[in-house]
């Protein structure tokens, strides 16, 4: 009976530390699984794993640690249910890395500005998960390359190239989407 109190306190300590990051965890899981119920299952699974490893966690930044576990649980779910979504990315595509930025012209910038939010969501959802996750961690969670490298288990240099590639893919998708009238009519424009 003597272990009761520590385990009780431990669960409370864990909740105090991990619950503030539940939105970040769910958002990442939701973007990996593409649906609510599976995302909830992934987060629950991840939180229980996190609770198990909680005693071994001595860092000060909980969010990257927790998101790393969520991502891992998300990938386990993908492997089981959407194995074709887990595609290896060719990060050694040096030919691509040497390319200059696209020769952006004024109309294209305007087109991107006017890109509809629904198109942005669609474009992000359509990205290979390896690009999607770095973009989410960078733009939505505003994490550093170092934290992203740790969460996605890739070198910092790879974070840098995947982010650049992800942005380029988003740009292409949005420029294409913008000229599809069907989408433009159903959603709002970006206000900025």
């Amino acid at each position: 009976m003597e272990q009761r109190r520590p385990s009780h306190d431990r669960s409370h300590a864990f909740e105090a530390v991990a619950l503030p990051h539940l939105d970040a965890a769910y958002n990442l899981a939701r973007w990996i699984t593409h649906n609510d119920q599976d995302a909830q299952d992934v987060v629950q699974d991840a939180y229980l794993r996190a609770l198990r490893y909680f005693d071994g966690f001595h860092g000060d930044d909980v969010r990257p640690w927790l998101l790393q576990i969520v991502r891992h649980a998300g990938y386990s779910w993908l492997a089981k249910n959407r194995s074709k979504d887990v595609v290896g990315l060719d990060d050694s595509d040096d030919a691509w890395r040497e390319t200059p930025g696209p020769a952006a012209q004024e109309p294209q910038v305007i087109a991107l500005r006017k890109a509809e939010q629904a198109s942005v969501n669609d474009a992000l959802a359509a990205l290979p998960v390896g690009y999607r996750e770095v973009l989410i961690l960078r733009e939505m969670e505003e994490l550093s390359y170092r934290d992203i490298a740790r969460i996605a288990d890739i070198p910092i240099g790879t974070v840098m190239s995947r982010l650049a590639r992800a942005r380029r893919l988003m740009r292409q998708a949005l420029l294409t989407a913008d000229f599809e009238p069907r989408r433009r009519s159903v959603s709002q424009e970006i206000s900025t």
Partner: protein, 258 residues
Amino acid sequence: MNAAPLWEELSAFVDGELEPARAGQIASHVQHDSTLRRQVQEIGRLSAALKAPSCYFLAPKTLRSAVCRAAAERSRPKGSTVLSRWFAWRPMASALALAGLFALSIRLADPAVTATDRLQEEIVASHLRATMSRRLVDLESADPRALAPFLSSRLDFAPSISELDVAGSSLVGGRIDYVDGRTVAAVVYRVGDHVLDSFVWPTGKGDQRVTQTSKRGFQIARWSRGGMAHCLISDVSAEQLSAIVRQLESSIAGRTSS
């Protein structure tokens, strides 16, 4: 090497992830190159679009409670039974019992605390009443030998009256006051611009060392010696009052021992 940045480096530049020196070089490139400038704008637009609330999925409330429930369930040792769950309440029960005991001990200590408190309130009130009503003294006199018989004739004890040996101080007089449920002697001094009341009354309790506190901006010092309770109150500084107490205390001690 100060080459114009490629897309990848530009992307890291926008993210603020480059070495400061290189970031500075790129900043000047961007400044002078309209194509680079548009690319930076594009990355910025995309970033803003991805930060839109409609892109961010907030955790449903049910998930929050489900996670809490699961964490609590998992923290419970295996083979958890109804009995052991009941015992899980034990820490809370003992905490409640402790809290109860604590409250009880406070209540037990209460009379003593309020007695000191009440006395201090009375002393402050008495001091304020006297200083504000300008009826500071019943008999105005700077001579202890004139004051002593005046006070003892109106009291059931004979207070000893000392002159203050503190710079800028003088004996003003004495009055009869009512403190702690009985009539007491109040000897009034002036210390500079401050009025100092020195209350004296007989006490059945033994000697008590000096305790000094502040109450509502007044300094209060109390002690007992030779069956007499002493209480000084004034708006002098704490240090000044300490000095006065030391001086009065030693003169009283000298008198009671002689």
